[in-house]
Symmetry: C2
Subunit: 201 residues, 2 copies
DNA sequence: GATATAATATTAACACTGTAAAGTTAGATT
DNA sequence: AATCTAACTTTACAGTGTTAATATTATATC
């Protein structure tokens, strides 16, 4: 009697379909330029069907961003074991973080700048994917501090400083693509390098 | 024959009135939640009158952001002469920058994150206020490099690294107010201090 | 002072938005 | 076969940015 299961599966499939369509549209044309009707058209359902799967447009955005965070987490965790030197591992993580942001610039902005405007609950609460991403950073930093590779400082603060740096450079590169930046990857590496040196000093 | 001048003055006054109303509404309720009609209501004119003064809603946002940049520039330039030590001056500028962002969080976001989404021309082109703000940063950095207080590095890149750091911490503090940050001003100072130390190293 | 002219503001309208409520349909359960 | 239920659609509403046409006002000219 697997009909119930099949139904559940189908339901989940449509949910995914909506998410895929929404992400693609949001990313390519911007959250504010996409209407529920456009999403509905793309999946060939009526607009209101979406509301059976998502509370409202902000909730849909929320779900898209959750996926993005999961994506980011997976990308980061693939690095984990590769490196024995914790400082080098941290450097690589930082670079991967920024590269992720530049590879999916609109997803990154959606998640880290647009979403907070709509969804007040920061998405970093306990058990959330967002928290896991930050935990990853904590771990990386912690290893450096434990091995006394960094000047003695609160692990939390250290992590936050690093996050500020990579977040900042990512957003600047995304938002002002025409600014006469230093060569992109040189800048990214310099930002990370400078911050890490500053943490050692 | 001052009637022409008076007319021009009146016109400019209404323009200002619109700008003031728009800023207040954008800042308090978010750009996307404010309609032209709401702005019109506030100034007690019909909605379409606004279009006699601004091309469209994005242009209005643009003008609001120009003002914000001017504001930021003035705030920064007030510091200029106070300090003889260039590194200390840079530190203070950085702190002032972030404080400005936190004092007017929505204006900051409007200018540095929302606006780029609508207005493709980054607002940092030659002669613009945005460029002047960056020039201010350039000067500060340049003084440090000239006095050999920083490790030998391109002035441009150095400035961009600093901007990344302060931009990053500003936005994180704005967008995730509920995150368990290290005490706000301690974090800001640590970010700036770490970056500057990194630039010395 | 009456009239033409230019500047400024408004009204009406269009196509589109997010979303609530009610209506429809198809498949599962009895 | 009748009923129930989940999935989906239709309809509707109040609000959106913006344009074109119109109206109103203030100035300049006669």
């Amino acid at each position: 009697m697997g009909t119930k299961e099949r139904r559940a599966r189908e339901k989940e499939q449509l949910r995914q379909q909506i998410l895929v369509a929404a992400r693609e549209l949001f990313v390519n044309e911007g959250y504010e330029n996409i209407s529920m009707r456009k999403i509905a058209n793309k999946i060939e359902y009526s607009p209101t069907t979406i509301y059976l799967y998502f509370r409202d447009k902000a909730d849909l955005l929320d779900s898209v961003c959750q996926e993005t965070l999961l994506n980011l987490l997976n990308t980061l965790e693939q690095l984990k074991r590769d490196e024995s030197d914790p400082v080098e591992a941290l450097r690589k993580s930082g670079r991967t973080y920024v590269e992720f942001g530049l590879k999916y610039p609109q997803d990154y902005k959606l998640t880290f700048v647009i979403r907070p405007q709509f969804q007040k609950g920061l998405g970093l609460e306990e058990g959330s994917v967002g928290e896991k991403v930050f935990n990853y950073l904590r771990e990386m930093v912690s290893a450096c501090v434990q091995q006394k590779r960094f000047r003695q400082m609160d692990v939390e603060t250290t992590g936050q400083v690093l996050w500020s740096a990579v977040h900042g450079v990512t957003l600047l590169l995304i938002d002002f693509p025409d600014f006469p930046w230093t060569e992109k990857y040189e800048l990214i590496d310099t930002v990370i390098h400078t911050t890490i040196e500053g943490l050692k000093a």
